[in-house]
């Protein structure tokens, strides 16, 4: 009784002290909200402005909504093509990362064999390497893969297959690190029961352990989708010459450099909006999952 009374008192006391501050609190929070939202909203507005309006005062509103900018960006600036390329690459590479990453993590977490620790450390050490050190040799590794008979044409330079394999490889350290920790925490009783019933190791993994690890799998998938979708450096090195193969980030960066000469500024803003919009929609729909996934990733 005394405790609940003092709790109520504490809450009251805190409200009394902090109450007048709450106006200030909301002011501060709203200022950052504006700082975050305005550049994005402003880009959407610019995407339906005419060229003259874009070169006019930055804070003017568009006189009419010119959605033809969006059409030009999609068709002529190839944003549609780049977006499809990004979706294809990220779909395959995230799937591959999760499949191979969870397989390796599972075996390393739950099986004892010679070399287990060494392989685990090999994977985890990749977390600390700066990717820029490897760029040059990586370029030649991928180039050499292209000379392999039969499959080379799918995994060499300027191929989506090559980029997918590189994305998978560079996503493995974090994926293995995180999922191994996760698999270690799972109880073994269910798996043992399945073994007694005659299930194979492979079957136990896919039908029992993988579903049990779902929360961890979802978190890491979110992390990998975002990371691979937003990747700019690796495609810049590995998809240089063939513009039809470019991913979205490359396309956007290129329009901004080319806009100096071509000067289709309206299309640039439309392209930017097209790159931003799907991410904002997906994020808003799954925001709690994405926030949880990313913070869990940071805290492990």
């Amino acid at each position: 009784m005394a405790i609940s009374k003092s709790r109520a008192y504490a809450r009251e006391e805190r409200r009394r002290r902090l109450g007048p501050l709450s106006v200030l609190t909301h002011t501060a929070l709203l200022i950052w909200t504006v700082l975050v939202a305005v550049p994005i909203v402003w880009t959407f507005l610019a995407s339906v402005k005419s060229e003259d309006e874009i070169f006019g005062n930055a804070w003017s509103l568009p006189a009419s909504l010119r959605f033809d900018n969006w059409g030009r960006a999609w068709e002529q600036a190839h944003i549609g093509q780049y977006m499809v390329n990004s979706i294809v690459v990220v779909a395959f590479s995230t799937f591959g990362t999760m499949l191979f990453g969870s397989m390796a993590a599972y075996v390393l977490a739950r099986y004892r064999f010679r070399g287990n620790r060494a392989i685990y450390l090999l994977f985890v050490s990749g977390l600390a390497f700066p990717v820029y050190l490897a760029l040059t040799p990586l370029f030649f590794v991928v180039q050499n893969m292209g000379t392999i008979p039969l499959i080379g044409q799918f995994i060499g330079l300027n191929t989506h297959g090559g980029l997918v394999l590189v994305y998978i490889a560079y996503s493995l350290p974090f994926t293995v690190f995180f999922l191994a920790a996760f698999f270690r925490t799972l109880p073994g009783a269910v798996a043992e029961a399945a073994f007694v019933d005659g299930a194979s190791h492979t079957r136990v993994f896919f039908q029992i352990m993988l579903p049990m690890a779902k929360p961890g799998i979802v978190s890491v998938t979110v992390f990998n989708v975002l990371g691979q979708w937003n990747q700019y450096q690796l495609p810049l090195v590995l998809l240089t010459s063939d513009r039809d193969k470019w991913v979205l980030t490359q396309g956007i960066a290129d329009i901004s450099t080319a806009a100096g000469y071509d000067a289709d500024w309206s299309a640039l803003f439309a392209a930017l909006s097209m790159a931003i919009l799907p991410m904002l929609i997906v994020y808003t729909l799954f925001q709690s999952q994405i926030q949880k996934g990313l913070t869990a990733g940071a805290l492990k």
Partner: protein, 300 residues
């Protein structure tokens, strides 16, 4: 049984380990060798030149400028991001209405603050290129020009450009750490806040005496993440600034110089030597951070 088990382990590891060794380990290993050659990509066999590349690096003013910028980012980007994020996380959670489940609208703020985090860094770079435009169609300069003031060359003034970059990096990072710290604060038992309130602690004391010490582990994780991110800055500089690191090298960073020397000048040996230096910076920072953060954990 045992035979099947070993076959299973090997079968699950072979693809991930192969991908990882081919695309990650081998390039890193090669990079250390290439750093001691004068390889320019054309000759079949690189010529071994000992430490020549490293000696030339010592006299390379542009590279040391880049190192300086990275070190400045290494200090300022985590500092600013963490301070701003802590401030907002505290306002969202412990401030306002007595700290029970966060203030009114805290979910909305958390969702919006996080927006920049899901945007590709290349997209953010193009976005801010437009925000910073030097004429009246730039968001920030439009009001200055309207007031009859001199426009600021956010990206064209050698004294200002670096700070513009820093601003964008902080703008993008804050939201994630607000969410991370909010999760951390939410896990602190409410009794501690209440006990402190009863003892007469105000808002500032609650923050410095309760929240901050109990959040210390999470803050350190954030510091390590931001530090590594500061050493890896590339797309913002490469896409956003004139001359890709300009004007007059005032914004260039190690990653940009590595990329420029490798893929524009084709000085693969020299670029790899820079990569080796970056590698030691990163490893050094990680080791230092781990050492400093070895502190007794507080259990709730």
């Amino acid at each position: 049984m045992n035979y099947g088990r070993m076959r299973f382990v090997a079968g699950f590891l072979v693809i991930p380990v192969a991908l990882y060794v081919i695309y990650v380990i081998a390039p890193y290993a090669q990079a250390f060798y290439i750093a001691f050659t004068d390889w320019r990509g054309v000759s079949a066999s690189p010529r071994f030149v000992g430490t020549e590349n490293f000696q030339r690096l010592l006299g390379d003013g542009i590279f040391w400028g880049a190192v300086g910028h990275n070190l400045l980012l290494l200090i300022l980007m985590p500092l600013l991001t963490l301070v701003i994020a802590l401030f907002f996380a505290f306002l969202l959670n412990a401030g306002g209405r007595g700290g029970t489940g966060g203030i009114w609208g805290s979910k909305f703020y958390r969702v919006v603050f996080f927006f920049p985090q899901v945007l590709a860094i290349a997209v953010v770079a193009v976005l801010f290129q437009q925000v910073f435009r030097p004429d009246k169609s730039g968001m920030l300069n439009a009001p200055l020009i309207a007031l009859g003031l001199e426009p600021i060359g956010f990206l064209s003034d050698t004294d200002v450009a670096f700070w513009s970059i820093l601003g964008v990096l902080v703008w993008q990072a804050v939201g994630f750490y607000v969410v991370l710290f909010s999760a951390g604060i939410a896990s602190i038992p409410r009794d501690l806040f209440e006990a402190a309130s009863i003892d007469g602690a105000g808002g500032a004391q609650l923050f410095f005496r309760v929240t901050l010490p109990l959040l210390w582990d999470t803050i350190q994780v954030g510091w390590v993440y931001l530090g590594i991110a500061a050493l890896d800055v590339f797309a913002i500089v490469w896409v956003m600034t004139a001359e890709q690191g300009g004007p007059d090298h005032s914004t260039t960073v190690m990653a940009a110089e590595i990329y420029r020397n490798a893929f524009q000048y084709f000085k693969f040996g020299y670029a790899s030597a820079m990569g080796v230096v970056l590698f030691f910076f990163t490893i050094g920072f990680a080791a230092l951070a781990l050492r400093l953060s070895r502190r007794e954990r507080i259990e709730f």
